[in-house]
Amino acid sequence: MGFSRRSGRLLRWGSLLLLLLGFLPGLGGCKGGDQAGSHSLCIAGSTSVQPFAEKLSEVYMQQHPGMRIDVQGGGSSAGIFAAQQGAANLGASSRELVAAEKKLHEIAIAWDGIAVVVHPSNPLNNLSLEQLRQLFQGKITDWRDLGLAPHTIDLITREEGSGTREAFEHMVMGKTEFTPSALVQDSNGAVREIVAGDPYSLGYISAGLVDERVKAVAIDRVLPTRENIKKQSYKLVRRFLLVSRVPPAGECKAFVDFILSPPGQQLLEAEGLVGVK
């Protein structure tokens, strides 16, 4: 009697412990990662790539019932790190890999422009690359300096570590630093939201996310249109990458092939990006 009671209790606590242990791996990143069943994939990384990856996986999952694809944000660096660690099958990056990350297998899935955006009521149509640099260095702080009615410019940048910021820094700022007076927002959406509401603001977002609530400005007289991004006559163009530790195989390869296939690329184009094919 005593024995059976004790073993019952043991069983109960044991199962509770097992349950807890079972939760632990689920805490960080995708569950299972590499070794997860062959019918699930995990993509983590850039918040710029995330909406597009979600769209792609949504369509892919419709075509392949039983397949599960988790798409997570976290940022380019986090995505690359997750891919290196094997915590995610694919890491999404909106910046180029640095030397230390070159060991990863990279697949370019699309081109994206970085659009400089202002409020639709703003008469500004064109900026030179040099003016843009001076704006973000804090040397131009008033719209008067750009030939418009005097008012302080509400400059918006992204947080340190963001892929969009890194790409912008690389293409526009060179070695110079962003002005500390700039507002900092933590997503493309938040930047767009502020620009849409503030007539005196100027920020930069992924060209795929420009909508009618904000106005994209031409850089050196070239607008970030699809054609200009494809021809690369627009200056601020970056690649969207998927990276993995090993060359994609199996389900992972099938998904990558889908992204690079005409339907996948069309899907990206429909969402505002420019295909690589």
């Binding site: 976290g74 940022g75 380019s76 660096s77 986090a78 790190f81 302080t152 509400d154 947080e159 340190e160 570590g161 963001s162 630093e177 500390p180 007076s181 700039a182 507002l183 900092v184 927002q185 933590d186 939201e193 502020i194 509401g197 503030d198 005196y200 603001s201």
Partner: protein, 279 residues
Amino acid sequence: MDKGKFVERVLFLLALSSISSLVIITIFIFEEGLPLIMHTGLKDFIFSTHWAPTKGFFGIGAMIVSSLLVTLGAMVLGVPLGLACAIVLAEFCSERVRRLLKPTLELLAGIPSVVYGFLGVIWLVPLIRDHLGGPGLSLLAASVILGIMILPTVISISIDALTAVPDVYRDGSIALGATEWQTVRRVVLPAASSGIITAVILGMGRAIGETMAVIMVAGNAIKLPSSVLEPVRTLTSNIALELGYAAGRHREALFATGIVLFVIIMVLNLSATLIARRR
């Protein structure tokens, strides 16, 4: 082992686990953050305002000042409002009104901070931008939102302090010919002062630790503000904004930011405890 003993032990273990999580968190943030403070030197870390973590500059001076300013702003707004509310609820209103109002105020505490932030972005920020100038996302916006957020803390602890004052004090004062307001001002408030100070300090702790709502309305610029209409970045926002991407020294710098925050909040809580115990 009988059942009572067993339950007792389990409860004891559970209690220990909550304390040990505090210990683990403390050890963890110090272990992660201290190397950077050693590297840059405490003085440079705390007093420099040059924050460019990917380029090797780790100065959180501007953020410390911003955190304190935002908190001060929240106090200026939240304490008089909260205290006035507590006095009315504890001293002047009827039992029926109190039964209606107190739970309503406590509901304020249950609203998630992201909702406050959202409200701030949608309503308060355009209001400031259009009528006062600047980008709207500002020290002022953060202070107003935080001022509202600390109300439940300030009010409920102040009410407890006021109701703890024995009725004989009030009766005595009235009997000596004082009016009700004179009684509150000269007798009840001084008697409840330590509790009210505790309420203020706990409200401060709440304000300085708030993150989500502040990120959404403060603008997060890294420089020292020169007016209340300029954007600021607080210590908590700095951690939350950048931790997702940070690696190496940058990551350590964010943990070190956490240490500074931890010390500030510890000092606040400790002084609240000491003041409450003085009575």
